[in-house]
């Protein structure tokens, strides 16, 4: 180990590991990754993909004219390209309205996925909705990790009555189906994307808090920690130097694999009318305003298929991507298989 022996086995790279190879050979895992790459590409390139149809507010906030936007947002040399890609103003998430007519219009050359009731461009909504979905997933996971770290950390480090109290709180939140509780929280917080995300995070944290607490207890029991404790290393320092760095990795991985479930909850809330505002590029909400055009009694049954088909496919595929990936990762990490 210490000597740089020339015929010593090469240190194994992660991509050469057995686990990764197993992962790579799993066709479902590859499919999951491809789906997610597709959506990630769509999300990242959203401004370029929709440069010709940005809403006025978005162009105003980017300081671009209509014709200018068309070229600038597809030209990486232009500063607006980077701004729009990485920090687009909130107004860019508003789906532009082609008209105010309540009747949806089928796909056409200019509007390849059709126009939803109220004149909303479905293509725009799908493309920017991908961004919204990643945004929701990442942010909720972030909030969840913060709550879980605080609660799990406190419970694991201090133990005793505090541990007992916090773990009972975990039980309580856990005792109600997540969607139901999230619905109640979202109702109280009111409409808006951020508020919905907080509502979801508030019901999703317990499992991770419990996990972190378990990890801490495990680590605490190890010899070197007891030793450190004995030499007078403080609780907080211990936590940040030794415990958190070890425990946080798996927690982040597992939590991020939950993004699929989080997006399901978020889109369900949006569908119930507890999500983002009407007109925001959000798939769940797009289905919700497609509702009265789903069936077409008396006429050609699936005449308005495009209003619900695209957003529902987008959600289903997006979640599928995460679940395929998550499944494969869990399989790969599972020591039994």
């Amino acid at each position: 180990m210490s000597s740089p022996d020339y015929d010593a086995p090469k240190r194994e790279r992660w991509y050469e590991s057995k686990r990764f190879r197993r992962f790579r050979r799993n066709p479902l895992a590859v499919a999951g990754v491809l789906i997610l790459l597709f959506f990630a590409g769509m999300a990242l390139l959203a401004p370029a993909l929709t440069a010709d149809r940005l809403p006025r507010g978005c162009m105003r906030d980017l300081g671009l004219g209509r014709s200018e936007a068309r070229t600038a947002l597809r030209n990486p040399a232009h500063p607006a390209f980077w701004r729009a890609t990485f920090a687009p103003p909130g107004s860019c998430y508003k789906i532009p309205r082609v008209s105010y007519s309540p009747v949806p219009k089928p796909p056409s050359k200019k509007y390849p996925l059709g126009i939803a009731s109220g004149g909303y461009d479905i293509y725009y909504g799908i493309v920017w909705g991908a961004r919204t979905s990643f945004y929701i997933g990442v942010l909720v996971v972030g909030i969840v990790l913060v709550i879980a770290t605080v609660v799990g950390g406190l419970a694991g480090l201090f133990g005793g009555w505090l541990d007992n109290l916090l773990m009972r709180l975990v039980d309580v939140v856990y005792s109600i189906p997540g969607l139901v509780l999230a619905m109640v929280f979202a109702s109280i917080f009111g409409r808006g994307l951020i508020k919905t995300m907080i509502a979801i995070a508030l019901v999703a944290w317990p499992i991770y808090a419990r996990m972190l607490r378990g990890n801490i207890l495990q680590v605490k029991a190890q010899d070197y920690i007891s030793a450190a404790h004995a030499v007078g290393v403080g609780n907080l320092r211990l936590f940040f130097k030794h415990i958190l760095p070890n425990a946080i990795g798996p927690m982040i991985i597992l939590a991020s694999l939950d993004i699929g479930a989080i997006v399901i909850t978020a889109s369900t809330l949006a569908f119930l009318g507890l999500g983002a505002d009407v007109g925001y590029a959000d798939w769940g909400q797009m289905i919700s305003f497609a509702r009265s055009w789903i069936s077409n009694p008396g006429g050609e049954p699936l005449k308005y298929w495009f209003v619900w088909f695209w957003p529902s496919m987008a959600i289903a595929l997006f979640v599928l991507g995460w679940n395929l990936l998550g499944d494969a990762v869990r399989d790969a990490l599972d020591p039994r298989s």
Binding site: R56, S292, I294, S295, P297
Partner: protein, 592 residues
Amino acid sequence: MKKHLFAVIALAALGVASAATPQDTYVYMQSAVFDSLDPVQAYDGASIGVIENVYETLYSFKRDVPGEYEPTLATSYEVKNDGLTYVYHLRKGVQFHSGNPMTCRDVEYSIERILVTMPGDSGAWFYGDALTGYGNDAMTEAKKALGENASQAEIDKFLDAYWQKIEDSVVCDDLYTVRFNLAGPDVAFFAKMLFTAAGVVDSKWAIANGAWSGTEDDWKDWIGVDLRTGYLHNHASGTGPYVLVKWDDKNIVAKAFDGYWGEKPAIKNVLVQAVEEEATRLEALRRGDADRVDVNDWATVNAKVKQMSGVKVWSDPAWSPAGAHVVFFNFNVQGESNPYIGSGKLDGNGIPRDFFSDINVRKAFAYSLDQDAIYNDIYEGKAAWYTMALPPTWPGYDPDIPIRKLDLDKAEAYFKKAWGGKVWEKGFRVTITHNAGNTVRQAVAEMLKANIESINPKFKIDVVPLQWSDYLKAARAKSLPVWPLGWGADYADPDNFIHPFYHSEGSLAKRQNFKNPEFDKLIEYARTLVRPDQQEERFAIYRKIGRMAYDVIPNVPYPRQSPFIITRDNLQGVYYNSMISGDFYWKDLSKK
């Protein structure tokens, strides 16, 4: 596996069967849910649409003739004492659903029950205004008059006086003559008595079932109560042609009343169902499970309903809804750290609180509203223009007042003039709010935004949908700068629009801090014109107010969808009366 397959096929075969409703049954699927069947409490179209067929008022609306009435539980009436006394002669031989005979005692009980309970979230206030002079329930008025720290003795004294007013306001001269003594002249008293809250309730039955006893003994227990918890909330005994059989959650079932004094209705059974999902209502209509359904807008009618066979769309250009939609401007925006006015200064990042007090700003906004797009895009050309905030078919409406249509050149000119040119130079940022879920108001707000922002890049408008709860908060704080709103009629008198919209004490004008002494003076004067021979003068004043409003622009009225009724084509006797909540009475229906 085969077994499963068989089950699936059997179930599928089951699924395709469809049924039309029976010949003597009327099924109506509406979009709204019912609030309360207590006539005093009900203040929403869905509930009133049922109540108006179960209870009757002294006079009622004449079928499809707007603005005309016919005697119902009364046979005639007289106005005496310069409009301060109304005497109604009651119809004899009328029976309640319970079998009790209807007399003056019941009328007295019913109207006094309004004055005693006065629920704050009901229409009771306009009866209080007319009869006792108090718009609130007795306890609230006592607190208002005496302050929070009044002694019990003082309060009791106040309440006794209040009760006396209730007692004196409705008097039975004999078993079939009822006299109303008004607290002051009221141009709309007769119209108010047409509203369902004045529906006559079976007093014996109500008292026997635990409602207010009709006496002073327990009246204090009923002050300001929520009548949704009472017996009359979901039980009924009126004199109307239909008997309430059952209210179960989203379904109300009624059957024809055998002892009805008038002509026996052809439809024997009625089911009114609240079905929120439009697609479900349409499917039921197509299959014949419903005889009438609510449809949101003309666009849906044109795109989906017209292609259905066996379905009839009733409409008439002469029909006009009993409501008005306008965009309000706040003349002096209130509220600490108000999020809707940006910086609160005319610096390009906000507006000063009195921004809209400059007529040029209001004119510029009015010229930026694309009324044609509302008329054509949203309503597909099936709408009514509004020149003022009053339904176009009502007396006092002036159709000759011009309407400001989209004209961005004029808008630009006025923006340049506004605030001595500072608006044009610095720009502004303001938030237009609309209540979340109302797509028409959202479209109006977004149109204003799109048009105004195109005039000058320094003009910035944000459109913010408000949840109902946030809207309540803002409305009370008077903190909204610009917002579209709709208003429906309570009672069939133009005063019900002119006062709230244009008087500084009006419930809507108050929220926009609009105060114009000239308007106030005219409206107050019009309220004194109670004699029948003065009505033309009163309506002329309303027309004048309409013309003044064109110049002053306290608000901008915009078009409203013209009414339509969707039924199966075998339903007959359908008509439209904007003052009837269900558009027509069930008793006039029949089937081919």
